[in-house]
Amino acid sequence: MSEPSPAGNFRPADSPSYESILQCMRCGFCLAVCPTYALTNRERSSPRGRAALARAVAEGRLEFTPAVGEEAYFCLDCKACTTACPAGVRVGTIMEFCRSQEQGFRPPSLPAGALRDFILKRMLPSPALMEGSLLPLRLYQRLGVQWAVRRFGINRFLPGALAKMEGILPALEKPLRLELPEVIPAQGKKRGRVAFFLGCAMSLVFPEVSRQTARILSQQGFEVVTPREVKCCGAPHLAEGDRDTARRLALTNLDLFLGLEADAIVTDCAGCGCALKEYEELLEGHADHGRLGRFRAKVRDVSEFLAGAGIRTEELRPVPMSVTYHEPCHLVHGQGLSGPPRHLIGKIPGVELREMKESNWCCGMAGSFALKEREASRKLLERKLAHVRATGADALVTANPGCHLQLAWGVRELGMKQPVLHVVELFGRALPA
């Protein structure tokens, strides 16, 4: 994405390529799938409008104005437009570049900037620091706070955001990263060796889910290696426009995981999977091409991996219940994976899958969006949960920690009966004790 191209009114560093922007031929197909456009009915909040703003900046017809920066952050980066766009335009990615531009043009004020730097550059890169922190304001939530403080000032922002943050975060357990054995042997006939990429949010907030992932992989005949030195995948940094730190983290993970000589690199976090699959592009020119290719060829979401390997069903026990499935953006749009999670669900004896409407629409979490744009986020969540309710299913299944937090919060807020489960949690229930 960074060929020599006229940067126009963009800053040269980390600017979207002109080619990638020109690719939009303005057919408007994407208008039908963009959640922010559905909310506002305002063209500039649509993929086509965002691409047009970027084009105007690149062609020198518009400065990189605060409104352009706002649109870059109001975009959920859900990538629904990428799936819908026959012309291959990736507006979400263009907006990631625009977030970097916004950081460059209007660096955060000092205290907020220091907090942001601390989170993005020190805390997220260092698992130990993050796990040691006692505040319940972790990860994306922190990013959200600093962003909003910078934009709206402490008083206007904090009360509401804090309330949502308190509400959304479950009681934190012990991080799984330190608990999970580094090597778990395969059960039954061994089918291979996989490296488990254990993401920060999974390890910290959903340790029991990732424990199931390791358990399932082992039960299915794979030796599971979980390196403790794993770093944050870099997704939050990309989302917030800090590409430098993202690259640093990516380089470390690249070396670490290629060194493990595993058949596949598997993750149960759709956000991590998406970021890992984009290392090739992020690190282009910063790491050996061949190694990047080899790394990319190994990365799999857990459902993608299992569906591809073929699922051993002999020992599975029935789980008699109906479920509906919410597709995480980072899985369906980011990685194009719609079939595999459903395949996994379909293999569990006794489970009935009831499709909801708009299953591939964003739930409104979208990184720190849920905190920064609470009104908009809530509307998207309510739209989603109305579809869930209409299915009457016993449980709501998804496959990503961000969605999981947001949906679980929404279900509680609205007094709905459905528990929220990660697809591996559901599958785990079918495993022999």
Partner: protein
């Protein structure tokens, strides 16, 4: 320049959130799906009801602004581009389905209703609204009517015009009009309705439409036929029509289109073939069986290289959806796509394909061809780059010569996309000065001051350079 006080006044009348005049908003209400051209309005207004709409019109008169109606902005002849600035009037927030009348088989909708939403709403009552332009998931009924849009089902079911029963709205001077009704027959005076259908937003602003509904076909069957020579595909189309078989859908895609669509949709289209036909026959099961046999026989006679039957409705729907992406999918291979809308009598299809091939050679241009073959309506689409002026000149020369041929065959320069800004010179070529002058008189009768959607259809009013951005081009 509009003053802040004026904008505030407008906001008070139409609602603050329905009036935009920040630069970032204006920039994105100056384009539609047409390449190489865009404008910038002075203000963009999205009334939510008739009162707001009237206030917006009054504002234009007071401030001396021209006005350009806009639906979803999927037009591809430049119809909703505000070439002289002024007001862009968006209709997308007037989007209620007012009534589905199951006794008279009609639906009444506001102009901003999205085509597919109407389709789904009537389908849930067991009824059918056939017009289905490729853009149906986003396009508005108002835009469909203003362009007289066709679609994949045009061959058997006709185009938008065949379904419009009544229209109401406003002339630019504020006069309210109502034309047509729920009566199946109506010859009371001139048919204003028929004048407004296809008027490209230059005669009046449509706020409400009543459309005719029919009952959906009970059965359908969908074929794919592959060809190693595109002229054979053209011949197959002509023979099917001559064989008195009228499929609902009879679409063509050439090799380049097949490959672009396959790159996006990955549904297993044959990349090595020169052309494919997508054919759907529908109706009563007995008729469907008979017509399907007929189609098969003709495909065998012309020696189609392979004929496949879609396994089920889901597969048929996937194929139609893939065909709808053709224009945008061709855009994968280059930054600029210039689409044309050449339409010929159906017996001339093979000859037209041959001419397209010849001209591609002559002008060294990359052109993907697809379209509603059963209607004789082809969309040769050039994959090019607007920064390369030489190539662009070749592309325009290619189309110009192609239209000579099309017109010599008794064809038309636009089957369904309209004239807008993009085809004014071609229109003159087709109709001659006399024909255009008659249209001009009609336009003047509706809009004497020339304030409603100026710069469209007629060559005589070029846009002042200041409102057309540097990439813009006025033929």
């Amino acid at each position: 320049m509009l003053t802040k006080a004026a904008i505030d006044r407008l906001r008070q009348k139409v609602g603050t959130g329905n009036v935009y005049h920040e630069r970032e908003d204006l920039l994105v209400y100056g384009y539609d799906g047409t390449p190489e051209t865009a404008g910038i309005p002075d203000v963009a207004v999205f009334p939510q009801d008739g009162e707001g709409l009237k206030a917006a019109l009054a504002f234009c008169r007071d401030e001396g602004l021209s006005l350009t109606p806009r639906g979803a902005g999927t037009g591809i002849s430049g119809g909703s581009i505000p070439v002289r600035g002024g007001m862009v009037l968006g209709l997308t927030r007037m989007n209620r389905i007012i009534e589905i009348d199951e006794e008279n088989l009609t639906a009444t909708v506001e102009a901003g209703v999205i085509t597919v939403d109407l389709f789904n709403a009537v389908a849930s009552r067991g009824l059918f609204y056939p017009p289905d332009p490729g853009s149906q998931n986003v396009s508005t009924l108002g835009g469909n009517i203003a362009e007289n849009a066709g679609g994949l089902r045009g061959l058997k079911y006709g185009v938008t015009r065949n379904y419009v029963m009544a229209l109401s709205g406003l002339l630019i001077d504020g006069t309210e009009f109502f034309t047509g009704g729920k009566c199946v027959k109506d010859v009371a005076g001139y048919s204003l309705r028929d004048l407004l259908v296809g008027s490209e937003g230059t005669l009046g602003i449509i706020t409400e439409a009543t459309v005719r509904l029919i009952t959906p076909p009970q059965d359908k069957r969908t074929f794919l036929a592959y060809f190693r020579d595109i002229r054979t595909a053209g011949e197959a189309v002509s023979r099917i029509i001559a064989g008195r078989i009228i499929p609902a859908t009879l679409e063509i895609m050439d090799k380049m289109t097949i490959n672009c669509v396959e790159d996006y949709a990955a549904i297993g289209l044959p990349r090595q073939m020169e052309a494919l036909l997508l054919i759907e026959v529908d109706g009563h099961p007995a008729v469907v069986a008979e017509e399907a046999d007929g189609v098969r026989r003709i495909l065998q006679e012309v020696k189609a290289d392979e004929v496949r039957l879609a396994a089920n409705a889901a597969e048929a729907a996937r194929l139609a959806a893939a065909r709808r992406t053709a224009l945008s999918a061709v855009a994968r291979v280059s930054p600029t796509t210039i689409i044309e809308d050449a339409t010929v009598p159906r017996s001339c299809l093979a000859e037209t394909f041959a001419e397209i091939e010849r001209l591609k050679e002559k002008y060294k241009v990359r052109v993907a061809t697809y379209g509603h073959a059963g209607d004789g309506n082809l969309h040769p689409t050039a994959a090019t780059d607007e920064r390369n002026r030489e190539e662009i000149a070749n592309v325009h020369a290619f189309f110009s010569e192609l239209y000579d041929k099309v017109l010599s065959l008794g064809g038309t320069v636009s089957g369904e996309h309209g004239i807008g800004t993009a085809k004014k010179a071609y229109l003159l070529r087709q109709l001659g000065a006399g024909g255009v002058a008659v249209m001009r008189r009609i336009k003047d009768a509706f809009d004497p001051a020339g304030c409603l959607n100026p710069g469209k259809i007629f060559l005589d009013a070029p846009a002042p350079p200041s409102t057309v951005h540097p990439g813009g081009k006025d033929v």
